[in-house]
Protein backbone atom coordinates (compact mmCIF):
# COMPACT_ATOMS: atom_id res chain seq x y z
CA UNK A 1 0.00 0.00 0.00
CA UNK A 2 2.88 2.40 0.67
CA UNK A 3 4.29 4.28 -2.28
CA UNK A 4 7.67 3.14 -3.62
CA UNK A 5 10.30 5.41 -2.18
CA UNK A 6 13.89 6.06 -3.16
CA UNK A 7 15.09 5.19 0.33
CA UNK A 8 12.51 3.30 2.36
CA UNK A 9 14.56 3.85 5.51
CA UNK A 10 14.36 7.64 5.22
CA UNK A 11 11.48 9.17 7.17
CA UNK A 12 9.36 12.01 5.79
CA UNK A 13 8.68 15.00 7.99
CA UNK A 14 5.11 15.25 9.34
CA UNK A 15 3.93 17.98 11.66
CA UNK A 16 1.81 17.52 14.76
CA UNK A 17 -1.46 19.34 14.09
CA UNK A 18 -3.41 18.30 17.14
CA UNK A 19 -2.74 16.46 20.38
CA UNK A 20 -5.33 15.02 22.71
CA UNK A 21 -4.51 13.51 26.04
CA UNK A 22 -6.42 10.24 26.43
CA UNK A 23 -5.16 9.12 29.84
CA UNK A 24 -2.31 10.25 32.10
CA UNK A 25 0.28 8.40 29.98
CA UNK A 26 -1.43 8.09 26.62
CA UNK A 27 -2.10 10.68 23.95
CA UNK A 28 -3.49 10.81 20.43
CA UNK A 29 -1.83 12.99 17.85
CA UNK A 30 -2.88 14.01 14.37
CA UNK A 31 -0.06 14.53 11.91
CA UNK A 32 -0.12 16.47 8.66
CA UNK A 33 2.57 16.30 5.94
CA UNK A 34 5.19 19.05 5.91
CA UNK A 35 6.12 18.73 2.25
CA UNK A 36 4.74 17.31 -0.96
CA UNK A 37 2.04 14.78 -0.27
CA UNK A 38 -1.44 15.70 0.89
CA UNK A 39 -2.63 12.33 2.12
CA UNK A 40 -1.13 8.97 2.91
CA UNK A 41 -3.65 6.18 2.42
CA UNK A 42 -3.52 3.22 4.78
CA UNK A 43 -5.55 0.16 5.61
CA UNK A 44 -7.07 -0.59 9.01
CA UNK A 45 -4.55 -2.57 11.04
CA UNK A 46 -1.39 -1.06 9.54
CA UNK A 47 1.29 0.86 11.39
CA UNK A 48 3.87 3.57 10.79
CA UNK A 49 7.40 3.93 12.04
CA UNK A 50 7.50 7.25 13.91
CA UNK A 51 10.88 8.87 14.31
CA UNK A 52 11.68 11.36 17.03
CA UNK A 53 14.70 13.08 15.51
CA UNK A 54 17.81 12.45 17.53
CA UNK A 55 16.09 9.95 19.81
CA UNK A 56 14.84 6.97 17.86
CA UNK A 57 12.12 5.30 15.89
CA UNK A 58 9.17 3.19 17.08
CA UNK A 59 6.35 1.28 15.39
CA UNK A 60 2.94 2.79 16.17
CA UNK A 61 -0.41 1.61 14.82
CA UNK A 62 -2.53 4.02 12.85
CA UNK A 63 -5.60 4.72 14.93
CA UNK A 64 -7.41 7.17 12.63
CA UNK A 65 -10.13 6.82 10.06
CA UNK A 66 -9.00 5.13 6.81
CA UNK A 67 -12.04 6.52 5.00
CA UNK A 68 -10.93 10.12 5.73
CA UNK A 69 -7.25 10.00 4.90
CA UNK A 70 -6.27 13.65 5.32
CA UNK A 71 -4.18 13.25 8.45
CA UNK A 72 -2.37 10.41 10.18
CA UNK A 73 -3.66 9.65 13.65
CA UNK A 74 -1.65 7.76 16.23
CA UNK A 75 -2.37 6.90 19.85
CA UNK A 76 0.79 6.47 21.86
CA UNK A 77 1.55 5.40 25.38
CA UNK A 78 4.68 6.78 26.97
CA UNK A 79 6.58 3.72 28.15
CA UNK A 80 10.25 4.27 27.37
CA UNK A 81 13.01 6.26 25.75
CA UNK A 82 11.30 7.23 22.49
CA UNK A 83 7.65 7.39 23.47
CA UNK A 84 8.38 9.52 26.55
CA UNK A 85 10.06 12.16 24.42
CA UNK A 86 7.21 11.88 21.91
CA UNK A 87 4.78 12.50 24.73
CA UNK A 88 6.52 15.79 25.52
CA UNK A 89 6.23 17.08 21.93
CA UNK A 90 3.90 19.97 21.20
CA UNK A 91 1.66 21.14 18.41
CA UNK A 92 3.70 22.14 15.30
CA UNK A 93 6.66 19.93 16.29
CA UNK A 94 7.87 17.68 13.49
CA UNK A 95 8.24 13.90 13.51
CA UNK A 96 9.62 11.52 10.91
CA UNK A 97 7.16 9.08 9.37
CA UNK A 98 7.84 5.87 7.45
CA UNK A 99 4.98 3.71 6.32
CA UNK A 100 2.31 2.56 6.30
CA UNK A 101 3.53 -0.98 6.84
CA UNK A 102 2.10 -4.38 7.50
CA UNK A 103 -1.00 -6.44 6.96
CA UNK A 104 -4.55 -5.29 7.57
CA UNK A 105 -7.74 -6.41 9.28
CA UNK A 106 -9.76 -8.59 6.85
CA UNK A 107 -12.69 -6.22 6.50
CA UNK A 108 -13.57 -7.21 2.93
CA UNK A 109 -13.63 -10.89 3.87
CA UNK A 110 -15.80 -10.03 6.87
CA UNK A 111 -18.54 -8.53 4.71
CA UNK A 112 -21.79 -10.43 5.13
CA UNK A 113 -20.61 -11.78 8.48
CA UNK A 114 -21.06 -10.80 12.11
CA UNK A 115 -17.95 -9.11 13.49
CA UNK A 116 -16.78 -9.30 17.06
CA UNK A 117 -13.86 -7.08 18.04
CA UNK A 118 -12.08 -7.75 21.30
CA UNK A 119 -9.66 -5.10 22.53
CA UNK A 120 -7.53 -4.92 25.65
CA UNK A 121 -5.85 -1.72 26.82
CA UNK A 122 -4.00 0.04 24.02
CA UNK A 123 -5.19 -2.73 21.69
CA UNK A 124 -8.20 -0.55 20.94
CA UNK A 125 -5.95 1.82 18.95
CA UNK A 126 -5.26 -0.53 16.00
CA UNK A 127 -8.88 -1.66 16.04
CA UNK A 128 -10.31 1.85 15.83
CA UNK A 129 -9.72 2.19 12.05
CA UNK A 130 -11.59 -1.11 11.60
CA UNK A 131 -14.51 0.26 13.62
CA UNK A 132 -14.62 3.42 11.49
CA UNK A 133 -14.54 1.42 8.32
CA UNK A 134 -17.22 -1.02 9.42
CA UNK A 135 -19.49 1.80 10.55
CA UNK A 136 -18.95 3.62 7.24
CA UNK A 137 -20.26 0.53 5.46
CA UNK A 138 -22.48 -0.68 8.26
CA UNK A 139 -25.05 -2.40 6.03
CA UNK A 140 -22.35 -4.71 4.64
CA UNK A 141 -21.97 -6.45 8.00
CA UNK A 142 -24.21 -8.47 10.27
CA UNK A 143 -24.11 -7.90 14.00
CA UNK A 144 -21.15 -5.88 15.23
CA UNK A 145 -19.81 -6.18 18.76
CA UNK A 146 -16.95 -4.40 20.47
CA UNK A 147 -15.70 -5.81 23.76
CA UNK A 148 -13.11 -3.57 25.37
CA UNK A 149 -11.23 -3.99 28.61
CA UNK A 150 -9.02 -1.43 30.31
CA UNK A 151 -7.17 -1.28 33.58
CA UNK A 152 -9.29 1.37 35.33
CA UNK A 153 -11.98 3.86 34.24
CA UNK A 154 -9.23 6.51 33.97
CA UNK A 155 -7.40 4.34 31.43
CA UNK A 156 -10.27 4.14 28.93
CA UNK A 157 -9.32 5.42 25.49
CA UNK A 158 -11.64 7.35 23.18
CA UNK A 159 -14.33 7.83 25.82
CA UNK A 160 -16.60 10.05 23.79
CA UNK A 161 -16.53 7.66 20.88
CA UNK A 162 -17.13 4.67 23.11
CA UNK A 163 -20.19 6.42 24.42
CA UNK A 164 -21.39 7.25 20.92
CA UNK A 165 -20.80 3.74 19.62
CA UNK A 166 -22.49 2.27 22.67
CA UNK A 167 -25.56 4.42 22.05
CA UNK A 168 -25.99 3.01 18.53
CA UNK A 169 -28.72 0.44 18.09
CA UNK A 170 -26.63 -1.43 15.51
CA UNK A 171 -23.56 -1.98 17.65
CA UNK A 172 -23.12 -3.91 20.89
CA UNK A 173 -20.42 -2.23 22.98
CA UNK A 174 -19.29 -3.80 26.25
CA UNK A 175 -16.71 -1.89 28.24
CA UNK A 176 -15.12 -3.38 31.32
CA UNK A 177 -12.32 -2.46 33.71
CA UNK A 178 -10.10 -4.57 35.95
CA UNK A 179 -10.53 -2.15 38.81
CA UNK A 180 -13.51 0.14 39.26
CA UNK A 181 -13.65 3.29 41.32
CA UNK A 182 -16.50 4.69 43.34
CA UNK A 183 -17.95 6.62 40.41
CA UNK A 184 -17.82 3.68 37.98
CA UNK A 185 -21.20 2.04 37.42
CA UNK A 186 -20.09 -0.12 34.50
CA UNK A 187 -18.65 -3.61 34.25
CA UNK A 188 -15.76 -4.82 36.37
CA UNK A 189 -13.96 -7.97 35.26
CA UNK A 190 -11.82 -9.25 32.44
CA UNK A 191 -12.88 -8.81 28.85
CA UNK A 192 -12.88 -12.50 27.76
CA UNK A 193 -15.83 -13.08 30.10
CA UNK A 194 -18.06 -11.05 27.82
CA UNK A 195 -17.53 -13.33 24.85
CA UNK A 196 -19.93 -15.95 26.24
CA UNK A 197 -22.86 -13.54 26.03
CA UNK A 198 -21.89 -11.35 23.05
CA UNK A 199 -24.43 -11.42 20.23
CA UNK A 200 -22.93 -13.17 17.21
CA UNK A 201 -23.52 -16.31 15.21
CA UNK A 202 -20.39 -18.45 15.57
CA UNK A 203 -20.92 -20.03 12.16
CA UNK A 204 -20.84 -16.65 10.43
CA UNK A 205 -18.53 -14.50 12.48
CA UNK A 206 -15.11 -12.98 12.09
CA UNK A 207 -13.27 -12.06 15.31
CA UNK A 208 -10.64 -9.31 15.42
CA UNK A 209 -8.51 -9.33 18.54
CA UNK A 210 -5.81 -7.03 19.87
CA UNK A 211 -4.35 -6.66 23.34
CA UNK A 212 -1.64 -8.03 25.62
CA UNK A 213 -0.75 -11.61 24.66
CA UNK A 214 -2.11 -13.18 27.82
CA UNK A 215 -5.42 -11.39 27.36
CA UNK A 216 -5.51 -12.62 23.75
CA UNK A 217 -4.77 -16.14 24.94
CA UNK A 218 -7.86 -16.18 27.18
CA UNK A 219 -9.89 -14.44 24.48
CA UNK A 220 -9.00 -17.18 21.99
CA UNK A 221 -10.11 -19.86 24.43
CA UNK A 222 -13.48 -18.17 24.91
CA UNK A 223 -13.98 -17.57 21.19
CA UNK A 224 -13.23 -21.22 20.53
CA UNK A 225 -15.62 -22.23 23.31
CA UNK A 226 -18.30 -20.32 21.41
CA UNK A 227 -17.46 -22.41 18.35
CA UNK A 228 -15.22 -20.13 16.30
CA UNK A 229 -12.45 -21.89 14.40
CA UNK A 230 -8.87 -20.61 14.14
CA UNK A 231 -9.64 -19.51 10.55
CA UNK A 232 -12.29 -17.10 11.84
CA UNK A 233 -9.99 -15.31 14.28
CA UNK A 234 -7.48 -12.56 13.44
CA UNK A 235 -4.95 -11.19 15.91
CA UNK A 236 -2.66 -8.20 15.85
CA UNK A 237 0.71 -8.92 17.47
CA UNK A 238 3.51 -6.72 18.70
CA UNK A 239 7.18 -7.53 18.38
CA UNK A 240 10.22 -5.29 18.44
CA UNK A 241 10.91 -3.71 15.11
CA UNK A 242 13.79 -1.96 13.48
CA UNK A 243 13.52 -1.79 9.69
CA UNK A 244 9.81 -2.62 9.22
CA UNK A 245 10.77 -3.90 5.77
CA UNK A 246 11.58 -7.54 6.36
CA UNK A 247 15.38 -6.98 6.25
CA UNK A 248 16.73 -6.98 9.77
CA UNK A 249 14.97 -9.94 11.39
CA UNK A 250 14.17 -8.06 14.62
CA UNK A 251 10.50 -8.87 14.40
CA UNK A 252 10.80 -12.54 13.56
CA UNK A 253 7.90 -14.64 14.77
CA UNK A 254 8.32 -18.31 13.88
CA UNK A 255 8.77 -18.33 10.11
CA UNK A 256 7.22 -14.87 9.76
CA UNK A 257 8.42 -11.32 9.93
CA UNK A 258 5.85 -9.42 11.85
CA UNK A 259 6.53 -6.15 10.05
CA UNK A 260 5.52 -7.47 6.63
CA UNK A 261 3.54 -10.69 7.29
CA UNK A 262 1.82 -9.08 10.30
CA UNK A 263 0.98 -7.40 12.57
CA UNK A 264 -2.47 -8.86 11.72
CA UNK A 265 -2.38 -12.64 11.39
CA UNK A 266 -5.10 -15.21 10.89
CA UNK A 267 -4.85 -17.33 13.99
CA UNK A 268 -4.47 -20.70 12.25
CA UNK A 269 -1.31 -19.48 10.51
CA UNK A 270 0.48 -18.63 13.76
CA UNK A 271 -1.21 -21.02 16.19
CA UNK A 272 1.95 -23.15 16.52
CA UNK A 273 4.02 -20.21 17.75
CA UNK A 274 1.49 -18.07 19.56
CA UNK A 275 1.97 -17.99 23.31
CA UNK A 276 5.42 -19.62 23.13
CA UNK A 277 8.37 -17.75 24.50
CA UNK A 278 11.20 -16.64 22.27
CA UNK A 279 9.82 -17.40 18.83
Amino acid sequence: MSAIRANPMAPDPWRIERIRRETPDTFTMELGPVVGETTRPFAAGQFNMLYVFGVGEVPISISGDPTRGTSLVHTVRAVGAVTRVMCALKRHDVLGVRGPFGSQWPLREAEGLDVVMVAGGLGLAPLRPAIYQILARRTQYGRVALLYGARTPADLLYRRELYRWGARADMDVQVTVDRGDNAWRGNVGVVPRFIATAQFDPLDTMALVCGPEIMMHFTLLELQKRGLTAEQIFLSLERNMKCALGFCGHCQFGPFFECKDGPVFRYDTIQRWFGKREV
Binding site: V79, L122, R151, D178, R179, N182, N187, G189, M215
Partner: protein, 153 residues
Amino acid sequence: MRGFDALLPEQVFFQGMSPHALDTIAGCASNVRFAADEWIFQEGEDASRFYLLRHGKVALKAFVPGRGEVTIQTIEAGDVLGWSWLFPPYQWHFGARALELTRVIAFDGACLRMKAEADHDLGYELLKRFSQTIIERLQATRLQLLDVYGVHA
Protein backbone atom coordinates in the same frame (compact mmCIF):
# COMPACT_ATOMS: atom_id res chain seq x y z
CA MET B 1 -45.34 -16.26 35.66
CA ARG B 2 -43.72 -19.36 34.13
CA GLY B 3 -42.84 -22.21 36.46
CA PHE B 4 -39.27 -23.13 37.36
CA ASP B 5 -39.61 -26.32 35.34
CA ALA B 6 -39.65 -24.07 32.26
CA LEU B 7 -37.07 -21.54 33.48
CA LEU B 8 -34.30 -23.81 34.76
CA PRO B 9 -33.51 -25.78 31.58
CA GLU B 10 -33.04 -22.44 29.76
CA GLN B 11 -30.17 -21.48 32.05
CA VAL B 12 -26.71 -22.34 30.72
CA PHE B 13 -25.70 -23.30 34.23
CA PHE B 14 -28.16 -26.20 34.27
CA GLN B 15 -27.68 -27.33 30.69
CA GLY B 16 -27.56 -31.09 30.28
CA MET B 17 -29.03 -31.88 33.72
CA SER B 18 -31.60 -34.65 33.86
CA PRO B 19 -35.27 -33.64 34.22
CA HIS B 20 -35.32 -35.48 37.54
CA ALA B 21 -32.38 -33.44 38.91
CA LEU B 22 -33.90 -30.21 37.62
CA ASP B 23 -37.18 -31.08 39.23
CA THR B 24 -35.46 -31.73 42.56
CA ILE B 25 -33.52 -28.45 42.36
CA ALA B 26 -36.64 -26.51 41.36
CA GLY B 27 -38.14 -27.55 44.69
CA CYS B 28 -35.56 -25.30 46.41
CA ALA B 29 -36.02 -22.34 44.03
CA SER B 30 -37.88 -19.09 44.40
CA ASN B 31 -38.26 -16.04 42.27
CA VAL B 32 -36.75 -12.86 43.70
CA ARG B 33 -36.26 -9.27 42.55
CA PHE B 34 -33.84 -6.63 43.76
CA ALA B 35 -34.13 -2.90 43.18
CA ALA B 36 -31.18 -0.82 41.93
CA ASP B 37 -28.67 -0.26 44.78
CA GLU B 38 -30.28 -2.86 47.00
CA TRP B 39 -27.89 -5.20 48.85
CA ILE B 40 -28.45 -8.84 47.95
CA PHE B 41 -26.17 -9.91 50.75
CA GLN B 42 -23.40 -8.39 52.81
CA GLU B 43 -19.96 -9.62 53.82
CA GLY B 44 -20.07 -11.80 56.96
CA GLU B 45 -23.77 -12.62 56.76
CA ASP B 46 -24.98 -16.23 56.64
CA ALA B 47 -24.74 -17.60 53.13
CA SER B 48 -28.07 -19.36 52.97
CA ARG B 49 -28.77 -19.07 49.25
CA PHE B 50 -27.27 -18.79 45.81
CA TYR B 51 -28.65 -16.90 42.87
CA LEU B 52 -28.90 -17.30 39.14
CA LEU B 53 -29.25 -13.95 37.42
CA ARG B 54 -32.02 -13.76 34.86
CA HIS B 55 -31.85 -10.05 34.26
CA GLY B 56 -29.89 -7.06 35.52
CA LYS B 57 -26.42 -6.52 36.91
CA VAL B 58 -24.82 -7.12 40.29
CA ALA B 59 -21.55 -5.85 41.75
CA LEU B 60 -19.49 -8.08 44.02
CA LYS B 61 -18.12 -5.83 46.74
CA ALA B 62 -15.35 -5.98 49.30
CA PHE B 63 -14.94 -3.48 52.07
CA VAL B 64 -11.38 -2.16 52.18
CA PRO B 65 -10.58 0.06 55.17
CA GLY B 66 -9.59 3.49 53.91
CA ARG B 67 -11.03 2.86 50.45
CA GLY B 68 -14.58 1.86 51.32
CA GLU B 69 -16.62 -0.49 49.14
CA VAL B 70 -14.59 -1.73 46.20
CA THR B 71 -16.21 -3.54 43.28
CA ILE B 72 -14.30 -6.71 42.52
CA GLN B 73 -16.42 -7.94 39.68
CA THR B 74 -19.77 -7.38 38.05
CA ILE B 75 -22.11 -10.24 37.25
CA GLU B 76 -24.77 -10.36 34.55
CA ALA B 77 -27.71 -12.37 33.28
CA GLY B 78 -26.82 -16.06 32.99
CA ASP B 79 -24.16 -15.83 35.73
CA VAL B 80 -24.28 -17.58 39.08
CA LEU B 81 -23.89 -15.53 42.23
CA GLY B 82 -22.47 -17.12 45.37
CA TRP B 83 -20.95 -20.44 46.35
CA SER B 84 -20.37 -19.80 50.05
CA TRP B 85 -23.59 -21.71 50.81
CA LEU B 86 -21.73 -24.88 49.71
CA PHE B 87 -18.81 -24.73 52.11
CA PRO B 88 -18.64 -24.25 55.88
CA PRO B 89 -18.85 -21.85 57.65
CA TYR B 90 -21.55 -20.81 55.14
CA GLN B 91 -20.79 -17.11 55.36
CA TRP B 92 -20.43 -14.57 52.59
CA HIS B 93 -16.85 -13.49 51.96
CA PHE B 94 -17.99 -10.57 49.82
CA GLY B 95 -21.06 -8.42 49.54
CA ALA B 96 -23.33 -8.24 46.48
CA ARG B 97 -25.31 -5.22 45.46
CA ALA B 98 -27.74 -4.83 42.56
CA LEU B 99 -26.59 -2.07 40.19
CA GLU B 100 -29.93 -1.98 38.42
CA LEU B 101 -33.26 -3.75 38.69
CA THR B 102 -32.20 -7.39 38.94
CA ARG B 103 -34.30 -10.53 38.64
CA VAL B 104 -32.89 -13.75 39.97
CA ILE B 105 -33.83 -17.29 40.76
CA ALA B 106 -32.82 -17.84 44.37
CA PHE B 107 -31.95 -21.34 45.61
CA ASP B 108 -32.18 -22.28 49.24
CA GLY B 109 -28.74 -23.59 50.30
CA ALA B 110 -29.85 -25.76 53.23
CA CYS B 111 -32.55 -27.34 51.08
CA LEU B 112 -30.04 -28.10 48.29
CA ARG B 113 -27.38 -29.42 50.66
CA MET B 114 -29.90 -31.80 52.20
CA LYS B 115 -31.01 -33.06 48.81
CA ALA B 116 -27.43 -33.42 47.62
CA GLU B 117 -26.55 -35.49 50.70
CA ALA B 118 -29.49 -37.77 50.02
CA ASP B 119 -28.78 -38.01 46.28
CA HIS B 120 -25.06 -37.98 45.53
CA ASP B 121 -25.63 -38.00 41.78
CA LEU B 122 -27.40 -34.69 42.19
CA GLY B 123 -24.65 -33.46 44.52
CA TYR B 124 -21.98 -34.41 41.98
CA GLU B 125 -23.82 -32.61 39.18
CA LEU B 126 -24.07 -29.47 41.30
CA LEU B 127 -20.45 -29.62 42.39
CA LYS B 128 -19.26 -30.11 38.81
CA ARG B 129 -21.08 -26.97 37.75
CA PHE B 130 -19.98 -24.90 40.70
CA SER B 131 -16.37 -26.06 40.29
CA GLN B 132 -16.48 -24.88 36.67
CA THR B 133 -17.79 -21.49 37.77
CA ILE B 134 -15.19 -21.25 40.53
CA ILE B 135 -12.38 -22.12 38.07
CA GLU B 136 -13.58 -19.48 35.61
CA ARG B 137 -13.68 -16.86 38.36
CA LEU B 138 -10.25 -17.91 39.58
CA GLN B 139 -8.76 -17.56 36.09
CA ALA B 140 -10.44 -14.18 35.64
CA THR B 141 -9.17 -13.01 39.03
CA ARG B 142 -5.64 -14.11 38.15
CA LEU B 143 -5.80 -12.15 34.94
CA GLN B 144 -7.04 -9.10 36.85
CA LEU B 145 -4.24 -9.46 39.37
CA LEU B 146 -1.62 -9.68 36.62
CA ASP B 147 -2.51 -6.13 35.68
CA VAL B 148 -1.94 -6.98 32.01
CA TYR B 149 -2.69 -3.49 30.71
CA GLY B 150 -0.13 -1.82 32.93
CA VAL B 151 3.37 -0.78 31.86
CA HIS B 152 5.88 -3.27 33.18
CA ALA B 153 9.30 -1.88 32.50
